[in-house]
């Protein structure tokens, strides 16, 4: 990238993808929990970045700009997937967790969370916003402030999504298979 000009070329972008492909793929895999989807998302990120590079003006550093595109690609895919699925309602989670007798068997949760299929099924029952925040924070290790910036959400909303998502995951992974959905 030309020093101080705030512009980047397609060659800069190619060089960035060459060096950071593992990190980009890692983020997509953590967000989507599926190797094929993660590979597709990386390619889509590259295509969107190539299409938009002429508009890159250096307001953010090139890596920040590309990772933001990558998060948007993952968010679009998560929202698409969520369209046909009913998210676990916040009201149900709140009511369960307010009940002092409510609990789960931690050994059951531990067994199930290690089962990738079960984990994905539970993640699919979160709202797209809760899922994005949970995965960016707990899987990709992003601080809440960065998530707030990238998703353009107030910090308090990010923390609220994170809390509800964690509670919902415990409920979903801890419930008996016979319990009503």
């Amino acid at each position: 990238m030309a020093e101080g000009t705030g512009v980047a070329t397609s060659a800069d972008l190619a060089s960035f993808f060459e060096g950071e492909l593992t990190r980009l793929y890692g983020l997509c895999f953590k967000m989507l929990q599926d190797t094929t989807e993660a590979e597709d998302a990386v390619q889509e990120t590259a295509m969107r970045a190539i299409r938009s590079i002429d508009r890159f003006r250096g307001e953010a550093a090139l890596p920040t700009w590309v990772f933001r595109i990558c998060v948007n690609v993952c968010r679009d895919r998560i929202q698409d997937r969520a369209r046909d699925r009913k998210a676990l309602e916040n009201a149900r989670i709140d009511a369960l967790w307010r009940d002092e007798h409510y609990s789960v068997d931690p050994s059951l949760v531990v067994t199930r969370v290690e089962d990738g299929k079960r984990l994905r099924a539970a993640l699919n029952r979160l709202s797209p916003a809760q899922r994005m925040v949970l995965l960016l924070h707990d899987a990709a290790d992003w601080p809440a402030s960065r998530i707030a910036d990238d998703l353009q959400l107030p910090l308090g909303t990010v923390k609220s999504h994170l809390r509800r998502a964690r509670m919902a995951m415990v409920t979903l992974l801890g419930q008996s298979d016979k319990e009503p959905e």
């Binding site: 953590k30 390619q43 190539i50 969370v113 509670m167 415990v170 801890g174």
Partner: protein, 75 residues
């Protein structure tokens, strides 16, 4: 300060992130010490966090690397 289960559970996520005030942390830990149901929920929450935090993705395939290079060649 004595917490109800409802109050303690709302704070559990912040305990996991170590973002509680010292006063809240002490109150929550005191509740967890004596409660029959909340520790199981907290242990479950911590186990899920641990699993998601430590799972590392496989490295990208050579095929993906080749396809991405191709995208830039076609540009």
């Amino acid at each position: 300060m004595s917490l109800t289960c409802g109050q303690a559970r709302v704070m559990a996520s912040d305990l996991l992130d170590d973002s509680l005030t010292e006063e809240d942390r002490i109150a929550l830990l005191a509740h967890i010490e004596t409660c029959a149901s909340c520790p199981k929920l907290y242990r479950s929450m911590a186990a899920i966090y641990q699993q998601m935090h430590t799972t590392s993705p496989a490295t990208p395939s050579q095929e993906l690397r080749r396809q991405v290079r191709q995208l830039f060649r076609n540009d």
